[in-house]
């Protein structure tokens, strides 16, 4: 991740060194924003029912071209566990997730978009890590076999989003839209068995979400 951040910083530095004082929103080209996303469906994680799947995080975007902004983002979530049939999970169990990624957002020329205002589509690649945290009522913990519980499930995700972004009062950015996508590669290699089965159960399985963001132009 550090390496990715370094590369991104280098790209930005190169871009600023080679660009005039133009572009962006009347000269402002950096957006620091917070974003929340919710799943409109309530059963997104198989067998591990979430009461309400909500993700939240932050992102830093830079307008690099007339209709393009690129950014890095960090999201996190914490899903409450619930008892399902034959589940050995406890109701106080949680899955805590984090997600780091890169996003390229393109403002649609066909709809009159100019970064950072207008209708857009974006693609993002990210790394997500879901960590299982057993609650005090967990049967495995109680059963004395904590080694069966995996620490995390790590995946590479790809998403595509469609939305709209606006600027208010010259300094505030708001956006909203829908995002589709999911894991394209699972990093963890558990060689079968219960651990693998469990890892799959806590793996990232959010395929559709609605997001809202609020940020500042710097």
């Amino acid at each position: 991740m550090k390496k990715a951040a370094l590369i991104f910083a280098s790209v930005l530095a190169f871009h600023f060194a080679n660009a005039g004082p133009h572009g962006g929103y009347i000269g402002h080209r950096i957006i620091l924003a917070g974003e929340g996303a919710y799943s409109p469906f309530f059963t997104s994680v198989k067998d591990f029912y979430t009461k309400y799947n909500f993700q939240y995080g932050g992102n830093l975007n830079v307008i690099v071209a007339r209709r393009t902004q690129v950014g890095v983002f960090y999201n996190m979530w914490s899903l409450g566990g619930n008892q399902a049939f034959q589940s050995n999970m406890g109701k106080n169990d949680r899955v805590n997730g984090t997600q780091y990624g890169l996003v390229v957002r393109n403002f649609r020329a066909g709809r009159g978009g100019l970064a950072p205002i207008g209708k857009f589509w974006d693609v993002s690649m990210s790394y997500a890590s879901n960590t299982y945290k057993a609650g005090s009522d967990n049967k495995d913990i109680l059963g004395g076999t904590p080694e069966n519980v995996p620490v995390s499930s790590n995946q590479i995700l790809a998403h595509v989003a469609f939305g709209t972004q606006m600027v208010f009062w010259n300094h505030f950015v708001g956006n909203t839209g829908v995002r589709f996508g999911g894991p394209i590669y699972t990093i963890d290699k558990n060689n079968g068995g219960y651990k693998n089965f469990f890892a799959q159960r806590i793996a990232y399985k959010e395929f559709f979400s609605v997001f809202f963001g609020i940020g500042f132009l710097i």
Binding site: H22, R111, T164, M166, W169
Partner: protein
């Protein structure tokens, strides 16, 4: 009733007999009118300031709805009047305006207070009209001045308009309209139809009052009251040209270019006044018949029916009328009414032959009509198609009047023949005035139209006089209808020969092939023809590409149209002409749109501020050629705005590869004056209306996970936003930068406007990228 009709008829014929002979002022060195002298205060105060001043008049102790109605009235009228004043169509203190104001001085000689509050301006429009505003500005159109026979008629018209002003008819009319809509006052407790009838009855009473007092005013000022009765002829014939001089196609013919007779309509319907006694229940004005009758009634009560036809100046009147008629030729072309322009010009040329201005305007109108005719599907074709589909044989579909005859001729003439006639005429005028760059430029355009659109090459014209004579003789001999030896001239024989050819033959036979027998002896003509041919051969590909580009632009109905004309331009100095910001409110299914004046004014103010700010940021030397920052000495700038506005209005009608059928020279002079050839026209337009399809949204709200988005959509109005900026190099007349953005179903806000202006200035100032 019958007696009255006789009197009216008698008066209509008698009064012309009493008229003085028309004077014919010298128009040899005629120059189109322009504004002069110090700009009046109306042009120096901003719309917002005028509105703020006017709203002080609103009485606070009346119904809130009426307070709002008055407030809206002052806002809308000030906005509309200012839009008109800075449209480029208004002349201030020009010869015509000076004369009209002097007549008004005479009318109001005993009412200095009223006179002080009224200003008269000339509106460049061929439409016959005069109208009053509550602000004391009275517009008189060029079209009206062309129809007048004497000063007394003008005095009656001005008296009518002054009465409207004195009694605040515009204001009262608006307030009555609001009361009618809301069923207040006299409109309470009645059906909408009755309210509507009452409202129009009230409007007609205002018109009658204006006629009544206008008549008294002119009589009191010593004008001949007969003229008031005659003035109604102008009204009754307002839809027809100012003259019905016989048209003959020979005007466009030469010894060697003769059109088939079938191109010219044989007969035309005579010009008749519109139905004067029409039912006026649903009209804001009483019928002309009733108005004339009321004036005759007053006239009959007069003790003394004598008076002066001219009080200010007879010679000035005739000069003003001649100026108006000269100007009307140009106005018709400006309004894309080329047949009307040619007919006005034709009529004036019968009085002023060899007049430089008229001949030049004729070339312009002919060239513009050639472009129109050479279009794949032109307006005439569309109209003919429409008539053939939906109008089944009217009882009398002959054209109306002599102007109708000219129109019929131009419409029936084939595109190639008409192009050749225009080129021949233009070349003759060019030879007379070789130093006029506009005429020379239009000749180039006509050569190009002929070679590119009509695909005619010089070889087809390489004929001689003997062949011409032989052709006529041969056809006549073949048809054996007449003894051709008795026909006097070869041209007459040729005409007869053409007319005896079958329809199919005439459609395929190139009757115009002898047209340039004389012109081809002129080496300059030959050189230009060949040059145009080379050009036409080289642009076939470009033309196809252009066509594809235009098709793509049409297909891509949303969003910015990308083309070679976008991207960095490296412009450092720019003139922005009258930037426009208009917010429309769409009232629904009937397509009724209204300008949201408050938002339009706010948006315009923001737009101009952003332009100034961004110009500074990008080191762009920006001149705003608009209504802002004018003072009394800014009349030159006002004229510049007028020239540029009219140029842009014309420029929008033509595609890129054509030579433009209007004067480039005035714009070139402006380019020199402002130190840059780059002039920008920009418009920011929003349409806000009711959102349709909410029922489906409400249903989908129940099943879809996108509830917040749908709720947002349901609660906000539908809005479309259009941003357009076009920069022309006015030395060439071609655009160098085009940005057209259409944002459907997106909300306009200040940030979006700011960003687009910023982006626009960013684009145009960024140095051009070197082509690899």
């Amino acid at each position: 009733m019958l007696n009255l009709r006789k009197i009216i008829l008698f008066s209509a014929f008698l009064v012309p007999l009493l008229l003085p002979a028309q004077q014919k002022p010298n128009m040899d060195n005629y120059q189109p009118p322009q504004s002069n002298g110090p700009l009046p205060p109306n042009f120096l105060i901003s719309t917002v300031d005028k509105y703020e001043q006017d709203r002080q008049k609103i009485q606070q102790n009346q119904d809130k709805k009426m307070q709002k109605a008055e407030d809206d009235f002052y806002l809308q009228t000030n906005y509309s009047v200012d839009q008109m004043c800075f449209s480029g169509e208004v002349l201030v203190n020009d010869t015509m305006g000076q004369y009209v104001n002097r007549v008004a001085d005479t009318l109001l000689w005993n009412d200095k207070e009223t006179r002080k509050n009224i200003s008269f301006y000339i509106l460049r429009s061929p439409i016959v009209n005069a109208f009053t505003t509550d602000q004391g500005i009275i517009f008189v159109t060029v079209g009206l001045l062309t129809r007048l026979d004497n000063e007394a008629e003008l005095a009656f018209v001005l008296g009518h308009e002054i009465t409207h002003y004195k009694h605040h008819h515009v204001y009262i009319g608006y307030v009555e309209g609001v009361k009618m809509q809301q069923g207040m006052g006299q409109y309470e407790a009645t059906t909408f139809e009755n309210r509507y009838l009452k409202r129009h009855r009230y409007a007609r009473s205002q018109e009658s009052q204006a006629d009544d007092e206008g008549f008294d005013m002119m009589v009191a000022a010593g004008y001949d009251p007969h003229a008031a009765i005659k003035a109604f002829d102008i009204l009754a014939l307002a839809d027809y040209p100012f003259s019905d001089t016989t048209f003959n196609k020979s005007f466009f013919e030469t010894n060697y270019l003769i059109f088939p007779s079938k191109y010219q309509p044989d007969t035309v319907k005579g010009i008749r006044p519109d139905n004067e006694d029409e039912d006026d229940d649903l009209a804001t004005h009483p019928s002309t018949y009733k108005r004339r009758k009321a004036i005759i009634h007053k006239f009959n009560k007069l003790q003394d029916t004598t008076g002066a036809l001219f009080k200010v100046s007879e010679s000035m009147f005739w000069r003003v009328k001649a100026i108006a008629r000269f100007e009307e030729c140009s106005e018709h072309s400006q309004d894309q009414e080329f047949s009307e322009a040619m007919y006005s010009d034709y009529v004036m040329q019968s009085s002023y032959p060899d007049n430089y201005y008229l001949e030049k305007e004729m070339v312009r109108a002919m060239y513009a009509s050639v472009i129109e005719k050479n279009k794949t599907l032109n307006l005439d074709d569309l109209m003919a198609l429409f008539q053939s589909l939906f109008i089944i044989g009217g009882p009398d579909d002959r054209p109306v009047g002599e102007q109708g005859r000219l129109k019929g001729f131009v419409s029936k003439a084939d595109a190639t023949g008409w192009n050749i006639a225009a080129l021949h005429y233009a070349w003759d005028v060019h030879k007379k005035y070789p130093d006029d760059p506009d005429i020379s430029y239009w000749c180039t355009g006509l050569f190009r139209e002929l070679t590119l659109k009509n695909k005619v090459r010089i070889g087809e014209f390489e004929k001689n006089d003997t062949e011409f004579v032989h052709f006529g003789n041969r056809i006549l001999k073949d048809t054996a209808i007449v003894n051709h030896s008795k026909i006097a001239t070869p041209a007459e024989r040729y005409q007869l020969a053409l007319d005896h050819m079958s329809k199919d033959s005439i459609d395929t036979y190139h009757y115009w092939q002898f047209a340039f027998i004389d012109d081809l002896k002129d080496s300059a003509f030959v050189a230009q023809f060949k040059e145009a041919t080379v050009w036409a051969d080289s642009v076939h590909l470009q033309d196809s590409l252009w066509y594809m580009q235009s098709t793509r632009a049409q297909d891509k109905s949303k969003g910015e149209i990308e083309s070679d004309l976008s991207g960095p331009q490296g412009i450092t100095k720019l003139v922005a002409v009258n930037p426009v910001y208009i917010a429309y409110i769409d009232h629904g299914d009937d397509g009724d749109q209204e300008v949201d004046v408050r938002n339009s004014l706010d948006g315009h103010s923001l737009l101009v501020d952003e332009m100034k700010k961004d110009a500074k940021m990008f080191n762009l030397d920006l001149t705003l050629l608009d209504e802002s920052g004018l003072d009394t000495s800014s009349v030159d700038r006002f004229n510049d705005l007028s020239v540029a506005s009219q140029w842009f209005a014309q420029r929008d009608n033509y595609t890129d590869h054509q030579v433009l059928p209007y004067s480039q020279e005035k714009m070139k002079a402006l380019a020199q004056k402002y130190g840059t050839p780059y002039f920008m026209w920009s418009a920011y337009i929003t349409y806000k209306g009711k959102r349709r399809g909410n029922l489906w949204r409400a249903l989908s709200f129940l099943v879809t996970p996108l509830a917040p988005h749908i709720a947002y959509r349901m609660l906000t109005p539908h809005e479309d936003v259009y941003y357009i900026a076009i920069i022309y190099d006015v030395n060439t007349g071609y655009p160098v930068f085009v940005q057209k953005t259409q944002m459907s179903n997106q909300h306009e806000n200040k940030s979006r406007l700011r960003l687009h202006v910023f982006d626009l200035f960013h684009q145009i100032t960024e140095p051009k990228k070197k082509k690899k």
